[in-house]
């Protein structure tokens, strides 16, 4: 018995030792790709920008002079190719390390490419076991390549900068679109849904993430400004926190509120061969700023007015955005089609293919229930 065991152990060790280590790539031999930018190249080609971390520069920097703004801690490599896998192949010829996707933070699509459709280019990242599912996908104005050339001042790499911008601030701002990760994107593609992606734009040598690109199936059809983004987030129940500027009260100052709780419920109702989406929004907020110092807020009448303004504003915002998007783009980034397939499965089974026709005829009925909870430390 013992002998057999020992024999097995020896065999195991010998087999392993003789055959060697197939997968070993020392950590410093990896080229950690932090961001990928996809642009349209000539002749139906892709122009892919890889942002690769330079660990030495990223970690150290202590010895080099500070304030030397030009010093980058990442390496951007630009490659033309037909597919992502092909460009990766070329990348291997361009850098003495192994491309590694495990720390891929963000994928940026250039505007031109986005207008032609995304789905066909990104399959590699769904299929590749190395890529993370939480990688964020964004779209940018102009070329993605240029985005990666911006060297942010607070973070070492553009990709990490975009990542934390969307992840942390996206939660506290209603104007930044909730980020879309690879899994969500795959889901959208599979269901042929419309969606919005956060938009990046270069502004004064910095990256600005306000607004969003609206996609019909996988094609970019237009841009939304930050107020539209807020409305889309309301209609998708994605708001956690954030601030909202109210329209001025009659002869009164501007007021900014801080949303502390939000819940939106959307229910489709079939009526007259079309759908009405019954949106009921529940809102709790604090008052954070008033543009006139001696304005007394803590007063029943004023509070009533403010609450009414909030209700009107939110309602107007949602309706306006919904109808604009519906009429101009004919797109449904609110995922209303899912509601139909869930609430009216039979209808969906029959008319799912022609949902667009129904969608352009559908309407929303917004109902807002808003409450002011706190006004801060002064009246």
């Amino acid at each position: 018995m013992q002998k057999v065991t020992i024999l097995i152990a020896i065999m195991l060790i010998v087999i392993l030792l003789l055959s060697g280590c197939w997968d070993r790539i020392e950590i410093e031999k990896n080229a950690f790709i932090l961001g990928i930018g996809l642009d349209k190249g000539d002749d139906d080609m892709l122009n892919v920008t890889y942002q690769i971390a330079l660990p030495d520069a990223m970690k150290g920097g202590g010895e080099g002079g500070e304030g030397d703004g030009g010093e980058t801690s990442t390496l951007n490599i630009n490659i033309y190719g037909k597919t992502l896998k092909e460009t990766e192949q070329i990348l291997r010829a361009n850098i003495d390390r192994y491309p590694n996707y495990e720390h891929l933070k963000v994928i940026v699509f250039g505007e031109e490419l986005s207008r032609e459709g995304l789905a066909e280019h990104i399959d590699f990242l769904f299929r590749n076991p190395q890529s993370r599912r939480l990688t964020k996908v964004v779209v940018c104005e102009g070329e993605a390549k240029q985005i990666f050339e911006i060297q942010p001042k607070t973070t070492k790499s553009t990709a990490q900068y975009i990542n934390s911008l969307l992840e942390d601030n996206g939660r506290y701002s209603i104007q930044i679109a909730s980020f879309v990760d690879l899994t969500t994107l795959e889901n959208k593609f599979l269901q042929n849904d419309d969606f919005i992606l956060a938009k990046l734009k270069i502004k004064d040598d910095n990256i600005d993430a306000q607004g969003a690109g609206i996609f019909k199936s996988d094609r970019l059809v237009g841009w939304l400004d930050s107020r539209d983004v807020a409305a889309v987030k309301w209609l998708k129940d994605e708001i956690e926190q954030g601030t909202l500027d109210l329209s001025p009260l009659d002869g009164h100052p501007y007021i900014t509120i801080q949303i502390i709780y939000n819940s939106s419920k959307i229910k489709p109702i079939f009526k007259d061969h079309g759908f009405i989406f019954d949106v009921s929004i529940q809102l709790e907020y604090d008052l954070s700023e008033v543009s006139k110092l001696d304005y007394i807020v803590l007063d029943e009448k004023t509070i009533g007015e403010i609450e009414q303004t909030v209700i009107n504003d939110v309602k107007e915002l949602c309706e306006q955005t919904f109808y604009t998007i519906r009429d101009i783009y004919g797109a449904d980034p609110f995922a209303f089609s899912n509601k139909i397939s869930n609430y009216y499965p039979l209808f969906w089974a029959e008319n799912g293919d022609v949902w667009d026709d129904y969608f352009v005829r559908s309407q929303i009925a917004v109902e807002v229930d808003a409450h002011l909870r706190r006004v801060g430390l002064v009246k």
Partner: protein, 508 residues
């Protein structure tokens, strides 16, 4: 032809005793005369001048006792006795007379063979030979230099008794006896080693311990056939269940409080003469994580510490392997910033991670061993200075990365947290195969190594008790004293895995 000097005395000498003192003395001298520490003192007893002799080993007896209670008695006491009786002691009553009236010492025995005689001489008794009798009197006057009872150095506790076992068997049994006045505490003795004739004692409490353990211990002790037992470590290796394993199945201890606590739990303690380490058996894996002060301190604190030790054992086995696997196979497993910082710190290191790791781990083992073998004050200096200087220098020289130094240090510290040295050594050794597996198969290799270790642990037994209880077979009731030590109030029963006769430890 054998030279005369090389012929063993037992080949020439008849071992039976005769009535003639000269013949007996000659026989004894054939064996013992060559040794300089054996004393033969011949003298005449009483008015009849009966020829007598004392034989003992110088250094093993208490000279005070021999002079005052034996020699003095023979010379003075006998004359007083004869005076009182008015007639001299004649040859025929000499033996009983000496036994009953002369020697004023408690422990006294008759010896009827040469073998026995020599054995009692060599174990520190004084043997009295009287002319005309074919038996000797053996008087216990043991007294030899000993270290005294000091604090155990290998098992330091913050709280608890400072006494440690010493090299003398009797003192050790006394230390046990003092802690348990139960008449059922049995301390049985036997001798091991054909030549060394080392005294062995095994102690247990009748009525708690399951008799099958006692029988088994006796069977295994009897089965030992070896010339000499120098230390209890040899006994441990000779009676353990499986010698093809790095894991100790019998727990050595220097602490009488730990030993007696285990006796009270239903275990057996073996004490070997000349060794300050008593053996606790049967021992299970979890026992090696216990320290006596776990039971003396408050339970919350003890539980936290106990859990820390388990954690430390995992660290000690797995940390280098996991680090190797992550650094050479799965850099995606750790957060981006950490991955980048490891990559940056390894940029100057010319070796693969596995080579770096093995180098550093061997270095720390060297330091540890050097520290352990050197005199205490120098030893600690060596390990501190060596550790700091070598660690720092190898990072500066670009041989190792700072993170590797951290990993090695954590591993080393973790392995020292385990209270029992024998397990700590086993765990330290096991991390090398895991590192090897990690360098071949990454994290899959590490987990494979873990599976193999667990499988191996599960197959082990200590005197028929599953080594890995109470984890497997799972005995949730015994988990009260496992990874955590719950309050004494809840520990009402002795461990079931030992199947003690009296299970109940504590009333309500």
């Amino acid at each position: 032809m054998k030279k005369a000097g090389n012929i063993k005395p037992e080949e020439q000498v008849d071992l039976t005793l005769s009535d003639d003192i000269n013949e007996n003395l000659a026989k004894l001298k054939a064996f013992l005369e060559e040794s300089s520490d054996i004393v033969f003192r011949e003298f005449k007893l009483g008015l009849n001048e009966i020829h007598c002799a004392l034989t003992y080993v110088d250094g093993l007896i208490d000279k005070e006792v021999v002079n005052n209670h034996i020699l003095k008695s023979f010379m003075y006491q006998v004359t007083i006795l004869e005076d009182n009786r008015g007639k001299p002691i004649d040859n025929s009553e000499a033996f009983n007379g000496v036994k009953e009236h002369v020697v004023s010492i408690g422990e006294i025995d008759e010896v009827v063979t040469l073998d026995e005689a020599m054995h009692s001489i060599l174990s520190g008794d004084v043997v009295i030979i009287i002319d005309g009798f074919n038996k000797f009197i053996s008087v216990s006057a043991k007294g030899w230099p000993n270290r005294g009872i000091t604090e155990p150095e290998g098992e330091v506790t913050i709280r608890g008794a400072r006494e440690g076992f010493t090299e003398t068997l009797r003192f050790n049994t006394a230390l046990l006896r003092r802690r348990c006045k139960d008449p059922n505490l049995v301390i049985k003795g036997t001798k091991l080693g054909k030549r060394s004739q080392t005294d062995i004692a095994y102690a247990y409490i009748r009525g708690i311990v399951n008799p099958r353990f006692v029988e088994e211990v006796e069977r295994r002790l009897r089965a030992i056939d070896i010339d000499a037992i120098i230390d209890s470590g040899q006994v441990e290796q000779l009676i353990q269940d499986n010698y093809l394993t790095p894991f100790p199945q019998i727990q050595p201890t220097e602490r009488p409080d730990k030993a007696i606590a285990n006796i009270f739990e239903g275990r057996i303690v073996i004490i070997v003469d000349n060794s300050p380490f008593a053996l606790i058996l049967p021992s299970t894996f979890q026992q090696f994580f216990q320290s006596p002060d776990d039971y003396y301190e408050r339970w919350m604190f003890s539980s936290a510490i106990r859990f820390l030790r388990w954690l430390a054992s995992f660290f000690a086995i797995l940390t280098p392997g996991i680090y190797i696997a992550i650094a050479s196979f799965h850099p995606g497993f750790i957060p981006t910033e950490l991955a980048i910082s490891i990559a940056a710190s390894r940029a100057t290191v010319p070796f693969p991670v596995i080579v770096e790791a093995v180098l550093m781990e061997i270095t720390i083992e060297l330091l540890r061993e050097a520290g352990a073998r050197l005199p205490k004050p120098i030893g600690s200096t060596i390990s501190i200075v060596g550790g700091i200087i070598i660690g720092d220098a190898s990072v500066r020289a670009g041989i190792a990365s700072p993170i590797m130094v951290i990993v090695v240090a954590i591993t080393a510290i973790s392995s020292f947290i385990i209270p029992t040295y024998s397990l700590s050594v086993a765990i330290r050794m096991l991390r090398f195969p895991i590192m090897l597996l990690a360098s071949i198969l990454g994290l899959y290799g590490v987990i494979l190594g873990f599976i193999i270790i667990i499988t191996h642990l599960v197959t082990l037994k200590s005197f028929g008790v599953d080594y890995f209880t109470p984890q497997a077979p799972m005995r949730l009731k015994e988990w009260r004293d496992y990874m955590f030590r719950l309050p004494i109030q809840t520990q009402r029963y002795r461990p079931k895995s030992l199947s003690p006769i009296d299970r109940k430890r504590k009333g309500n």
